[in-house]
Symmetry: C2
Subunit: 109 residues, 2 copies
DNA sequence: ATTTTATATCGTAATATTGCGATATAAAAT
DNA sequence: ATTTTATATCGCAATATTACGATATAAAAT
């Protein structure tokens, strides 16, 4: 026990939860907001701007990258991270479907 | 170490990450989808439908309730859970702002 | 009053996440 | 060739999450 039983859920449910999990951390939200605003991002800036250690930021960037939410290319000494448009749109769509299926306040409780 | 340093992030960033975390699990996504479809929900149904133990489902429902995403009222022997419209709209809005700030594929990498 | 039914809580084991110092890597500048 | 600069990875401790059996609770049926 102690590990999520992915096998009993649909691929869509697992995929959506994986993407949401990648975003569900204040540091990673902050990183994404920063990337979204500047449309460009260098890791070094984040280390100064957020108050986390360089190793920690690097780890959060890796998680976002592994989930496919951001992508990075080496640019000389530094690395340029930006949004992965494909995954971003996919997630936006999935969330749209999810939230769209709410039929308003005809609640029972 | 080992615990999220919430104090260095904004209230909005922390709130959004908390709500996303509550949703970022396939079982809880499945539960929400079930509630959204039927606009009503009883825990017992879920135990049969998903393949998780009763204690586990109850725990997931509690997490969704604690986050304010669902609300429940006792109805005789069973409990009726449904979406909390206030939080649902709040999250939808926050996500709208978040995803809306993406300025398209003028990516650098 | 007792049993049944539906849900919640407790306790616990397995696993995952978070954060960071230390160290590695690798390109650029000297 | 060596040093500097930017980022990644390793190893580890602290904490959180996931799942479930066992047990508690509490209303409904008998």
């Amino acid at each position: 026990m102690g590990l999520t039983r992915s096998e009993i859920f649909t691929d869509e449910q697992n995929q959506l939860s994986t993407l949401l999990k990648a975003i569900a951390h204040p540091a990673r939200i902050a990183v994404l907001q920063r990337i979204l605003i500047s449309n460009t991002c260098i890791c070094g800036d984040l280390v100064e701007e957020l108050g986390l250690a360089q190793a920690t930021i690097s780890q959060h960037l890796k998680e976002l990258k592994t989930a496919g939410i951001i992508q990075g290319t080496i640019e000389g000494v530094s690395v340029c991270y930006c949004i992965n448009p494909k995954t971003w749109k996919l997630l936006e769509e999935q969330l749209g479907t999810f939230f769209g299926s709410y039929k308003g306040e005809t609640s029972c409780c």
